[in-house]
């Protein structure tokens, strides 16, 4: 899932202070699961904002959509946004941008910082696992991502900074390449990392699109 964290309250307060009617928009998918921007968090944030702006008379509405990264769900707001002069989104960066695209005449403000693609370690505790590099090498590396889990994103680790079993950046951070080594060693697959892994294709540093097989014609027709 995409993991996000709510922005510091003062930052949100400053963003909305010049508006009169604000609609706080939650998202019911990833950010709800990671306790950053679902309906409960919308409720909590609005309660805090109401308290802070009691004297200023700012009104805060609340809506939580199933997904803000899907126009079908954003359409549910079409008849509601006119009553507001600003939208405060609690979705990830993708959802916030899609909301802003749906309602180009309304200021759309982010209430969360999008952190990463990660996993649930425990309630309220998440760890990054994927950088969405677009060139997955998990088959080679025994299911441990060198791009994300190695602080230097090395493809031929472990570097000399391996500190006992941890990364040089912190003793709490395990060395990804030690894990890769141990995993592959246990599976008898060390041969996979014996050869030099060539320079990676980082051409992912531009806006990307994916069209799944079978949908090319449909999309071409939409654009013609």
């Amino acid at each position: 899932m995409i993991v996000a964290e709510r922005k510091p309250f003062d930052e949100i307060k400053n963003m909305v202070s010049s508006y009169k009617k604000v609609l706080t928009v939650g998202c019911g998918t990833c950010v709800a699961v990671c306790l950053a921007g679902g309906s409960k968090e919308v409720e909590t944030l609005n309660a805090e904002l109401n308290l802070a702006f009691k004297k200023d008379g700012i009104e805060f509405g609340a809506e939580t959509l199933q997904r803000q990264c899907d126009m079908e769900f954003l359409a549910e707001l079409d008849n509601k946004v006119d009553q507001y002069d600003c939208l405060l989104s609690m979705a990830c960066g993708a959802g916030i941008q899609f909301l802003a695209e749906r309602f180009p005449n309304k200021p759309v403000l982010p209430a969360v910082n999008t952190s990463f693609i990660g996993v649930n370690l425990d309630v309220g505790w998440y760890e990054e696992k994927c950088r969405a590099c677009g060139q997955c090498v998990l088959a080679m590396t025994g299911g441990v991502c060198p791009v994300t889990m190695c602080a230097k994103s090395l493809f031929n680790g472990p570097c000399g900074g391996t500190n006992k079993t941890s990364c040089e950046i912190h003793t709490d951070q395990p060395c990804a390449w030690l894990k890769i080594y141990e995993r592959l060693s246990g599976q008898g697959r060390l041969a996979q990392i014996m050869t030099v892994s060539p320079p990676n294709d980082w051409s992912n540093q531009k806006p990307r699109k994916v069209i799944q097989p079978g949908y090319e014609e449909r999309i071409k027709a939409m654009h013609s």
Partner: protein
């Protein structure tokens, strides 16, 4: 000859190489580097010029390497993957070669969080293995990484680093093999204090035939104080300082600790001279350049060969 550097000539002639190190200044203080080089000239075959070591901004390593050349000391231009992408790397390699630099040491680099600009973006476009491969391709094929032709190729003697003491130990010799396969001509190691471990690592490298393909120069850094030894034991990632070393330093009179540190270093060098598969020693006297003449003298590596 691959590059014809003095280091390559020394090694090729079968001499026991003795290399040094100099850290560029935290500013444009040319005199400070010239001063350090005075102590190194004639006492080592070449000096490593560190590249923003520990991610602290310093005079660039290629620029400081040129000052070495002016002073008559052969530089080993260090390049880390942290601060440059593959375009800047290739450009700097060409520029360095054009100005007479003939040795390079290809490194990943310490993570930027350790330096004075922890907010900076670590580039790590290539890793050290891939950098070695790229320099080799530029030198041997006369091609850029992209495959395009180079107009006058850079003939560089390619160095790599190895840390036999970082985990997992049994993988380290294989990583050395990968660096050799990538194109390393010589390897300088992390500072050695754990002699049994380096003996074992060299033995493995001998068994795998690696020492016939690459010149290995173990790193030696004399301990200046008990505090330094304890700091290196507990605070420096990937450093292996056995308790015996600390006990030995503690066992001598306070005024004799630095001398004991040099004594340990000289004993190590004496053993390395006799060790099969070891081609020399890399001396890293951290901010102790003025002691190099004495250390070289006591280690019995003078005079340096004229090749």
């Amino acid at each position: 000859m691959k590059a014809g550097s003095k280091l390559e000539r020394v090694l090729k002639a079968g001499h026991f190489a003795f290399t040094g190190e100099v850290g560029p200044p935290r500013g444009a203080n040319v005199n400070s580097i010239r001063e350090k080089l005075k102590h190194l000239k004639g006492n080592v075959d070449m000096v490593n010029v560190t590249d923003n070591q520990t991610a602290m901004v310093r005079m660039s390593s290629w620029a400081a390497s040129l000052i070495c050349i002016q002073e008559g000391v052969e530089p080993n231009f260090q390049m880390v993957c942290r601060d440059r992408n593959r375009i800047a790397m290739q450009a700097d390699i060409l520029g360095a070669y054009a100005h007479g630099i003939r040795n390079m040491l290809c490194l990943s680099g310490d993570h930027q969080m350790f330096g004075d600009h922890p907010q900076s973006k670590g580039v790590f476009d290539l890793d050290s293995m891939q950098l070695i491969m790229m320099v080799k391709k530029m030198r041997d094929e006369g091609k850029f990484l992209s495959g395009a032709d180079i107009d006058v190729k850079p003939e560089i003697f390619i160095g790599a680093a190895a840390n036999p003491f970082a985990e997992p130990f049994e993988w380290r010799v294989h990583r050395l093999a990968k660096k050799v396969a990538a194109g390393a001509d010589f390897v300088q190691t992390q500072c050695v204090y754990n002699m049994p471990k380096i003996r074992e690592w060299i033995r493995q490298a001998n068994d795998m035939g690696l020492t016939e393909k690459v010149y290995i120069l173990p790193g030696v850094t004399p301990m200046k104080s008990i505090g330094m030894a304890k700091y290196m034991q507990s605070k420096v990632p990937g450093m292996d300082v056995p308790d015996d070393i600390i006990k030995r330093l503690q066992g001598v009179d306070k005024k004799k600790v630095a001398d004991e540190g040099i004594k340990i270093a000289c004993e190590q060098i004496a053993e390395f001279k006799e060790m099969k598969g070891v081609a020399g020693v890399h001396l890293m006297p951290i901010e102790w350049e003025h002691m190099v003449p004495e250390i070289a003298e006591r280690a019995g590596v003078l005079p340096r060969p004229e090749v």
